[in-house]
Amino acid sequence: MKTTLEVINGMVNDGVIGKYAIGGAVGATFYLEPLATADVDIFVMLSTAPGSSLLSLTPIYDYLRTRGCQVEGERVVVGDWPVQFLPAHSALEQEALAQSVETEVEGVRTRVLRAEHLVAIALKTGRAKDYARIVQFLDQDAIDADRLKRILMRHALVDKWEKFERKYLGG
């Protein structure tokens, strides 16, 4: 993971990507016990290409290809980890990125999404594995309930949370 993060930090320094933070199962592992996963989700701020309003991952792929990284579908193998770069499209993802926390992995500086944003994004994504992860956060008392509530209210996720509670927490 050290090599992976060094390469990604290099992309920031070279202006290929803006601010980034680790999300998904690897991000959740910052707060919980290690959660098995095959890849690393990196939420990333991208700038639009000149003359276009579209966000493109092409500069990322091009940059990494020139450094010998293999593209495998939506993922790029960086160091020894497949990485999925996820542009921060929504207001929730942009807020999550802006409020991410700094940490270090084997001496390499990086950022991780806050627990409450990981939960809100999992709720919004809504796959079975996302709901299972939310239950883990709750089981391990790893979230600030007030902070989560404010996020859910800001991003119109309260109804979805209440449905999740009724279905999975018997609330």
Binding site: M1, V26, T29, F30, Y31, L32, E33, P34, L35, A36, T37, A38, D80, W81, T103, E104, V105, E106, V112, Q140, A142
Partner: protein
């Protein structure tokens, strides 16, 4: 059950770098199982 809780608590309290080393081991084990052909068919494939 208490032992399981203790184990989870201990794993949760590890430094992030240590947890990531465990993740890499879990990933490598998963790849080895996949490469060996031992993995069962996915349920959805099996019931078709």
């Amino acid at each position: 059950m208490d032992k399981d809780k203790e184990r989870r608590k201990r794993l949760t309290s590890l430094p992030f770098s240590e947890k990531l080393k465990i993740l890499a081991k879990l990933r490598d084990r998963d790849r080895a199982i996949a490469a060996s052909g031992l993995r069962k068919k996915k349920v959805r494939q099996a019931v078709r």
